[in-house]
């Protein structure tokens, strides 16, 4: 029984990370209707940057927030320089651009930081007051961080004028321009936020799986599955989807199919959702008149 609970808890912890990356994917999808295949590799690169700062002597939280800022700026820069020229191109062209970014970031990580597997510190000490035998300190702390990020993003989008402008730009760019919203910069802002969220995901998972250039390869697939499960246009759905996928993956891996096939769960989910119910659990079904 305890082992079952531990699997569920471990699923929730990794689910929190999938949820964060899924949130980044949904942010970009809502604004641009494109899936950023490079999100995971960008997050890994951000985590390496954080690692370098810590190696250079920076305190954890200093490195954490500096990495968020740098990732935000990096995301904005990538949107302006790489993604924007292809805005009007076909979806397939955009997919190629994102895959190219994936390969570039993966190679950059390897080139600049090498392929040795490294440890990444957790800000939550093993003997913290909230640690227990059921759920270790980092696990609980990581879920807490995730909830804070989701809450902050929700509050930003719902209650601030800039958040309203971002939503408007995603929903109806033509009308958004007519009220003076600089739609192009809203897209850049979305990319920046997504990159920062991805960096948080990377820094939360690195202590668990160790840091190397391929750290997020599998996580990206789980994040896709989470985003699709929750409804590709629904941020809360992405969060919930992450938890469901995390727990399902762990339970199935422990009791049904064995840990080698865990990644298959993500792939089966992706194909299954797209076949059976593409709008996911909470996404909107849009009916178009032909």
């Amino acid at each position: 029984m305890e082992s079952f609970l531990q699997q569920v808890v471990a699923g929730l912890v990794s689910g929190g990370v999938y949820a964060l990356l899924a949130l980044a994917l949904v942010m970009i999808y809502q604004a641009t209707h494109h899936m950023n295949f490079a999100q995971g590799e960008m997050a890994t690169f951000s985590t390496f940057v954080a690692w370098s700062l810590i190696q250079a002597g920076w305190p954890y939280w200093g490195a954490f927030f500096a990495t968020l800022a740098l990732s935000f700026l990096g995301g904005v820069a990538i949107q302006r320089v790489v993604v924007r020229p292809f805005e009007k191109a076909s979806p397939l062209t955009n997919v190629v651009v994102f895959v190219a970014l994936l390969l570039i970031f993966n190679a950059l990580s390897g080139l600049l930081f090498h392929h040795d597997v490294r440890t990444f510190p957790s800000p939550f000490p093993k003997d913290a007051w909230f640690a227990s035998s059921l759920i270790p300190a980092h696990g609980l702390g990581s879920i807490g961080v995730m909830l804070i990020v989701v809450g902050a993003l929700y509050a930003f989008l719902r209650f601030t004028p800039l958040g309203l402008a971002m939503r408007a730009a995603a929903l109806n760019p033509g009308s958004a321009r007519l009220v003076g919203v600089r739609v192009s910069w809203m897209l850049a802002l979305g990319w920046g936020l997504a990159a920062a969220i991805g960096a948080v995901a990377g820094m939360m998972i690195a202590p668990l799986v160790f840091l190397d250039p391929n750290m997020m390869g599998g996580v990206l697939l789980y994040a896709f599955a989470s985003a699709l499960l929750g409804g590709i246009d629904n941020p809360w759905g992405a969060a919930l989807g992450g938890f469901i996928v995390g727990v399902a993956e762990n339970l199935l891996g422990a009791y049904v199919i064995g840990t080698d096939l865990k990644l298959t769960v993500a792939l089966v989910l992706i194909v299954g959702i797209l076949t059976v119910r593409p709008s996911g659990l909470f996404g909107k079904i849009v009916v178009t008149r032909v």
């Binding site: 004028p161 309203l164 408007a168 007519l178």
Partner: protein, 237 residues
């Protein structure tokens, strides 16, 4: 006195197709000018050209300042608000959020709140539905919302694209009544594109008649309305 809006030798293109040919239009500050014409005459294209949503050649000046190289967002900041055809409401946002967005470029928070109350006074139906999702409003109510949103900018120039389209006749009368009051009280200049020629000519000071992308007649609204050709083709008598 320089006109508020001057359009000279305006050509507009959708891709390779030319839709407007050498348009010359003037709008004086404080006046109501209407652009009439049948479907496909180029009326909506003219408004789109003003807001830089289509490729153009020629000159557009607002208050003497050349705007043909500016982006839509910059023109909005000069005080030009457009109520597009199809209304352009943010259907998934609430009525109140739509109004807030209208005031996006403004900084004066207290005045924005005052203006919102004034909009609710002018359009009581919107007040009843302020937290409702905009897409659930009727056609006429969405038209009111679109106009209210444009007014939240406190524009100098209001562009209206076929406000009577798809709206019940009683509501149309109500809407034009409010537009008249807005014109008087807020001294907003109006450029009105309308298919309903009778309605537009009664409302406007000046009129331009477009046919296949060219101005074929222009002048005082009463004179245009009295002309034989217009009466036969557009007014039906």
């Amino acid at each position: 006195m320089t006109p508020l809006l001057e359009i000279r030798r305006l050509d507009a293109f959708y891709g390779r197709t030319q839709a407007l040919f050498g348009l010359d239009i003037d709008l004086d500050a404080g006046s109501v000018t209407t652009i009439l014409g049948a479907n496909g005459a180029g009326k909506t294209t003219t408004l789109r050209a003003l807001c830089r949503a289509v490729r153009t050649r020629g000159e557009i000046r607002i208050d003497g300042k050349a705007v043909h190289n500016l982006a839509t967002e910059s023109i909005v900041r000069m005080g030009v608000a457009q109520v597009p055809d199809g209304r352009g409401t943010f259907t998934q946002l609430s009525v109140e959020d739509n109004l807030r967005l209208g005031a996006y470029t403004r900084r004066d928070k207290a005045d924005i709140r005052l203006d919102m109350e004034r909009m609710y006074d002018r359009f009581p139906r919107l007040k009843e539905r302020r937290l409702q999702q905009a897409g659930t409003l009727s056609g006429g109510e969405q038209q009111m919302l679109a106009i209210a949103r444009a007014l939240m900018l406190r524009p100098r120039l209001l562009l209206l694209d076929e406000p009577s389209f798809g709206v019940a006749p009683l509501m149309v009368a109500e809407i034009f009544d409010v537009l008249g009051r807005i014109h008087q009280e807020d001294r907003v200049s109006i450029l009105l594109v309308e298919q309903d020629a009778a309605l537009a000519l009664e409302f406007a000071d000046r009129a331009y008649l477009l046919e296949t992308g060219r101005v074929v007649m222009s002048g005082d609204a009463k004179t245009v309305a009295a002309s034989e050709a217009v009466r036969r083709s557009y007014l039906g008598y």
